[in-house]
C-alpha cells in the first residue's frame, strides 16, 4: 500500500531525511522508533504533504500511485491521515463543523455522496461513544483549551470519522494516561483491517503492547538503520539508541 523509495527531504536547505526505504502492506501495522530529532515527524509530515519540506530525491507510492506532487487535501482524499505530534488549536471553528466539512470534502474528492446533517450527527455520536469522548467536546472549538491528552484523543476521533486507508500516528501516546492510552489503542485497533495500514511513531514500547506491530523500524539520523519484529521494541527500550547514532550526518 505504501512504498517509500530512497526518500530524501530537506527543510530550509538542511537535509533531514537521507534515503528512507519503507514498504507497508495492507493490513499491516508498522512502528517507527528513534531518537529525538532523527526525522520521524519530518517523515510523517512529508507523507501528509506539508510543503515546508522539500523532497529532493526518491518518491512515495500510495496504492501504486505517485503522490509526491499531491496537495495535502488530495492525499487526505486518497486516504492518508496524520495524527499530529502537536495537534493544532483552531479558535472559532467547532469540532463538529470541522469534522463535517473535512469528511464531506474527502467524500467529494472520492466522488462519494456527502452526508447530510442528520446522517453525520448519527455517525459521530457513535464514534464519540466508542472513544469515550464527551459530546460537549464536539461543540468546542477544535483543540482550544483541550488538555494534552484530550488533543490526542480528538485526533483519534478525527481518524475514526475519516476512516483512512493509512493512518500515521506521530507520538499519539505521549501525554496520555493509562486509561486514555487503552481507549486510543482500541480506536486504532478498530481501524485495523485487511485493507488498512497503520504507521505508529512512538518512543515507548508500552503502546506496542496494545497496538501490536508487524514490524518495528529504527530511524536515526534520517535513515532507517534497522528493522525487525515486535521484540526489537523491547530491545530498544533496554539498550537505547547508542548502537544506531554512530553514523555521521
Amino acid at each position: 500500500m505504501l512504498e517509500i523509495k530512497n526518500l530524501h527531504a530537506e527543510v530550509d536547505g538542511k537535509a533531514i531525511l537521507k534515503g528512507i526505504d519503507l514498504n507497508i502492506n495492507k493490513g499491516e501495522v508498522h512502528a517507527i522508533m528513534g531518537p529525538n530529532g532523527s526525522g520521524k515527524s519530518t517523515l510523517a509530515n512529508v507523507l501528509a504533504g506539508r510543503d515546508d519540506y522539500e523532497v529532493t530525491e526518491g518518491g512515495i507510492l500510495f496504492d501504486g500511485k505517485d503522490i509526491s506532487e499531491l496537495e495535502p487535501e488530495e492525499r487526505a482524499g486518497e486516504g492518508i491521515f496524520l495524527a499530529f505530534q502537536y495537534p493544532v488549536e483552531i479558535p472559532g471553528v467547532t469540532n463538529t463543523t470541522f469534522l463535517k466539512e473535512a469528511l464531506n470534502a474527502q467524500r467529494r474528492y472520492r466522488g462519494e455522496e456527502e452526508l447530510d446533517g442528520m446522517e453525520f450527527v448519527k455517525m459521530i455520536r457513535g464514534k464519540t461513544k466508542e472513544l469515550g469522548i464527551k459530546d460537549d467536546m464536539l461543540k468546542r472549538a477544535v483543540n482550544v483549551g483541550f488538555s494534552g491528552g484530550e488533543k490526542k484523543r480528538n485526533d483519534i476521533l478525527q481518524m475514526a470519522v475519516l476512516n483512512p486507508k493509512l493512518a500515521v500516528l506521530d507520538e499519539t501516546d505521549s501525554g496520555l494516561d493509562i486509561d486514555a492510552l487503552k481507549v486510543v489503542a482500541e480506536g486504532v485497533n478498530k481501524l485495523r483491517a485487511e485493507n488498512n495500514a497503520i504507521l505508529v511513531i512512538t518512543h515507548y514500547q508500552r503502546l506496542l503492547n496494545y497496538i501490536v506491530p508487524d514490524q518495528v523500524h529504527v530511524l536515526s539520523n534520517g535513515k532507517i538503520r534497522r528493522s525487525g519484529g515486535k521484540e526489537l521494541a523491547l530491545e530498544l527500550e533496554e539498550k537505547g539508541y547508542a548502537d544506531y547514532s554512530g553514523e555521521a550526518a
Partner: protein, 441 residues
Amino acid sequence: MVTLPSDKEAFIAHYDQSKDHLPGYNLAWLNETRAKNIALFNDIGLPSAKTELWKFTSLNPLKKQAFSAPETSELAANDELPRLFDAAISIRLVFIDGKYSETLSDSSLPTGVTMASLAAVLDSGNCDLDQTRLSRPRAEEQPLVALNTALMADGYILSIAKDVSVEKTIEILHLGSGKAESTHHTRNIISVGSGSKATIVEHNTEHGENVYFSNAATDISINENATLHHYRVQESNKSAFLISSTEVEVGKGATYDSFLLNTGARLARSDINVSLAAENSACHLNGTYMGTDDQHCDITTRVDHKTPHTTCDEVIKGVLSGNARGVFQGKIIVHEQAQKTVGNQSHRAMLLSDRAEVDAKPELEIFADDVICSHGCTSGQIDEDALFYLRSRGLSQEQAQALLVNAFLADAVEAVQNEDLKDLFLVRISDWLENNPNKPA
C-alpha cells in the same frame, strides 16, 4: 451639470455658489455658522499626511476625482431598495444621494420616536434646532466636519423620548442613486431620552458602481441610563469615498454600543469620538473590516474618560487581501479625575496577501492613577500550522482559509448582542469570503 474638482478651492467655490440656496439660507445664525466653518476649513484645508490624525490615510485619490454638483435624484419607481430587516421588525428611513426621501421611507414611526429631515427643519419658518448640536469640541482637528457644517444639505434629526424601549430596529438606508458623481454632506443628530433604549442601523450602499463622496457627520447624545445600539453596515461600491465622523456624548449610567462592519468603498474613513463625562457611562466600539484590491479602510476612534467609573471596550478585527490597506488609530484618554476607569482596546488584522498592509496606532494617555487599561495590536499572516492541519484533513486551501478567516472575524461579532444583527454580520462576512477569492500573493 457643473463639474467640480475636489481640492480645497473647489469645495470653497462650491460653498460660494450654493450658500444662498442651501437649506435654511434665510436663518442668520445658520449663515453665520456656515461662514465660520468654511473659514475654518479654508484655514486648515483638506487633511493631509502632515496632520497626525491623517498620517496613514491620504485624500489624494479624492482630490484627483471630479464630482458634479448634487442633483435631485429620485429613483425609478421599479428600482428595488435594499432592506436589511423585515418590515415586521424594523422601520426604514431612506436617503438617496444624501437627501431624505419621504415617499420611500416608512411612514409610521414607533411610539416615542420622532424623526425630521434636517433640510425640512432648517427650512421650516420656525426652526427649533438646538444650535449647540452643530458645534464640535476640537473643531480645529476636524476640517471635514467644518466642511460638512458649511455645506450640510440634509440628514436626520432623530429623537427618542424618555423611558421608551424601542422594539423595532430603526434602519437608515443611505443609498447612492448611481446617477451622478456627486458629493453629499449629511448631518445627523440623534438624541436618546433618559432611560430609553433604541437600535439604529445605518446601511451605506448604492445602485451602480459610480464614484461619489459622502462626507457625513453625526452628533449623538445619550441621556441618563439610556442605551443606544448603533450599528453600521458600510458596503458602498469600490469607487466610493465614504467619510464619516461621529461625536457621542454619553450620560450618567448610559451606554453607547457601536459595531461597524466595513466591506465597501475605495476609501472609507470612520471617526468615532466618545466623551464619557458622567459616572458609569460606557461605550463599546467594536467592528470588523474587510478589504481587497485597492481598498483603504480607516477606523479612528477617540474615547475621553472624564469622570470616575467609566468604561470602554473596543475590539476591532480586519482582514485584508490584494493591495488593500487598513488603518486603525485608537486613542484612549483618561483625564486626571477619571479614577476607576476601565478601558480595554484591541485591534487585530490578518493579511492574506504580501501586498496588503495595515497601520495601527493605539494611544493611551493616562493622567489618573487608579485605572485598568489595556491595549493590544497585532497583525500577521494566516496561521500556516492551522492551515496545514485543516488541509491534512481534506479541506482545500480556499476552504481552510475561509474557515480560519471566518472564525477570526466572527469572534469580533460575538460582541453584538442583537441576534438579528449578529446573523446579518456573519452573513456579510461569509459573503465577503465567497466573493473575494484570495488574490495571489
